[in-house]
Symmetry: C2
């Protein structure tokens, strides 16, 4: 048992932990910082699907690097934490006892599996997507000589796994809700993504759910659908979401929020001002309703980690924006799909009096520029004020940054009136035309809609 | 002489005119709108350099389209306006007399030529870049069998002309200030662009100016430099900026601003509330100092046109942001260069107490993603408050939208503290990593710099 005393102790190995450490290093250069993580090697979480296709092709190409500053100035321990005693400010691990002044939980999340599938988890060909190199390598090895893959779950991970596995010639069936990516895209946008997946030859089984995994000895043979239908497969991947990894925090007596995340205030502090939690293990709030949010994103985690890492010894600035805006992007085929804030569907559910602006233009100008392609922007705004509360973008790769313009507009509580006179850089080879910049044109529609 | 009576008359054929018309159509669907323009066909102004290389290769691929709504609901006249009588609200053209209720000048700009070169303009092989299809075709035809091109001026048009002409094998020499794109990029960023141009085989003659064009009969033989050196060439292109085209407005008695633009208030109104001016022909103000600004950009023009087009019969909203932030982007080789707000150099000149944040990362994550390349972000902020007043980006094509995030941060008066907890969408195939998103990392540096 090795004894260590540290000022700041960060527990975890993902982006939240890493960013907490690097932010703390910047803000408290004189403090002793220790990171304890379970695995020697951390994977880039959102890169995991790309290990399975041609994009990265191997897990060793998806390693999260430690910056030289972090590696040099931080004590990094690979060990499994077993308990935390908040009273004595001590963390116990298999072979370490660490006393700390400030503790940050960044223990991440583990796959969520429906009760009805739990029994099937021991089968050789049923997998979840765990953020652990060893487990990912096991799945990749197993897939090597298998042809028929069933993916249960149509969130980002399920969809990205489907497209990557299809790209290396697997027969892929994906099973899930009425439309894919339902939390982030309205039906009008989702069907464009579904069309591309179908063109790629992916079998979409939508508006269904898998009621049972059919076993035969130590293997799954396939799944049974709620309508009684059956799909056979060589491998079944459960991509049905993640849940906060909070056992340690719970055992330590920390308060949990809804959905099992560690309760934190807007500055990522638990009820104890010396204990913080960041990333997927903490309880998140929605930016519109402040209700608990299930959103799990590395970028949200990084944002939380920057707040925590600079607030450990007292708040240094007030956060400009509260809650999680759920800002995502992904690529399906050669099109990027991105979303921020609330969808139209969600606005309806929350009983928001909203209006929509939609514009489809091109991402270059004039349209004769060789790589020009369509760019669609949908904006959702509060009807009375025109305040932007959501947006969705489909386009080429630039859509990944266009959504960040919309995200910033949401965070800064801009209205459509602000957006219509926005000064944007436009350039033939790089962007839409100044005359038809899609965000601005969609904002115009929101203003017009108010008069109708 | 044809007599026409209209409610709204827009004078011009560029993006400012077009957007004024389409915005007015949306806001005042019951008004009669007339557009009078000099040329039958309008070119996309920022697409002009790409006519000369392989990208567009012909002017017919660079035509600015009129939307069906505009074409259908607007009276479009091709004629040359000769005078405006503000008293009687009448515009006279060669073969039209048009009475109006509201008039919008969108007469654009014409090439600015230094006094010392004016005499050379009549030479067969000396050209300016005019926003007129006929003139562009003339230059393109002339260049056909010529090899040595000298470009005077290192602004965006000069640089874009240089790279496009080089891409089709011309020997190109570009002559100008100490560094290219000096108004928009600091030296540290500009030298990266210069390196690429040199690698392309473009001859850069910097820190010099052309003192004289050397004539021989009806042709120019080359130029003489201020240090006495001489460069020979087959064609000389003057890319030394543009000046507002305001003769008509001046003759009508409208007040002019500095640099000759038509004086307008923040709502694009001249001193006469029925007469507006938008685009390059109007006087602009800098967003930092409110001093006159020489910036001429189609995107700025479009923004002004949206303000004017919705304010013709009374202001409908207060502008959220005053002044021109000079937000540009371009491509040099396969790298995008983008800039918004003030450069470090300008901040010094304005005696602003500023700090700088700079981060170079990658535009994908992990760095093993096949098309990953460097992305550099430089932010300039007021030291005391951390308020962002400028930014520069070098990257792949996504940089064209990254600068618009920075532009929005400037327009909404965000500080570096806001930016560090920004929620951004990050995705392996589309963006930088959540842990090292360059805008956020540069903002962190600004905060750190304040403590030093």
């Amino acid at each position: 048992m090795k004894l260590i005393d540290t000022d700041i102790l960060v527990l975890g190995g993902g982006p939240a932990a890493l960013v907490t450490v690097s932010t703390a290093l910047q803000n408290y250069p004189d403090k002793k910082i220790t990171l304890i993580k379970e695995d020697e090697i951390s994977l880039v979480p959102c890169g995991i699907p790309y290990i399975f296709g041609k994009t990265l092709a191997q897990s060793s190409k998806n390693i999260m690097p430690f910056s030289p500053a972090v590696a040099e100035k931080t004590t990094i321990i690979t060990d499994t934490a077993t308990s935390v005693d908040i009273e004595s400010k001590t963390l116990y691990a298999n072979s370490h006892k660490i006393t700390f002044d400030k503790l940050v939980f960044a223990t991440g999340s583990t796959p969520f599996v429906h009760k009805s599938f739990e029994d099937a988890l021991h089968l050789k060909n049923v997998f979840t997507i765990q953020k652990c190199k060893e487990k990912i390598d096991q799945l990749k090895d197993y897939l090597e000589d298998k042809q028929k893959v069933i993916i249960i779950g149509t969130g980002f991970i399920g969809v990205e796994m489907a497209t990557e596995l299809r790209s290396i010639g697997k027969d892929v069936t994906i099973v899930g809700g009425r439309h894919i990516l339902a939390g982030s895209f309205d039906v009008d946008m989702a069907i464009e993504a579904e069309k591309i997946m179908q063109e790629m030859g992916i079998e979409l089984v939508l508006g269904q759910y898998a009621s049972r995994i059919v076993q035969s000895g130590s293997l799954a043979e396939g799944i049974e659908l709620c309508d009684g239908g059956r799909i056979d497969g060589d491998v079944i991947i459960l991509a049905t979401g993640y849940q906060p990894n909070t056992q340690l925090a719970k055992n330590a007596g920390l308060k949990l929020a809804h959905y099992g995340g560690i309760w934190v205030d807007e500055y990522m502090r638990t009820k104890n001002k010396d204990i913080f939690a960041v990333g997927d293990c903490c309880g998140r709030r929605d930016f519109i309703t402040r209700d608990p949010s299930k959103v799990m994103l590395a970028s949200t985690s990084a944002s939380e980690a920057r707040v925590a890492g600079s607030s450990l010894y007292g708040l240094q600035y007030l956060k400009g924006f509260n809650g999680t805006i759920a800002i995502f992007s992904t690529m399906i085929g050669n099109r990027a799909f991105a979303s921020a804030g609330v969808t139209e569907d969600r606005a309806k559910k929350e009983n928001i009096d909203y209006t929509v602006g939609y514009f489809q233009g091109l991402n270059r100008h004039p349209g004769t520029i060789p790589d020009a392609s369509k760019q669609s922007v949908k904006l959702i705004a509060i009807r009375s004020s025109g305040q932007i509360i959501g947006g969705q973008v489909i386009g080429d790769k630039e859509a990944g940054e266009v959504i960040n313009i919309i995200g910033l507009a949401i965070e800064t509580e801009l209205s459509a009136h602000h957006l219509v006179s926005l000064q944007v850089a436009t350039q033939p080879l790089l962007t839409a035309a100044p005359t038809t910049y899609p965000i601005i044109k969609a904002a115009e529609q929101i203003i017009q809609a108010r008069f109708q």
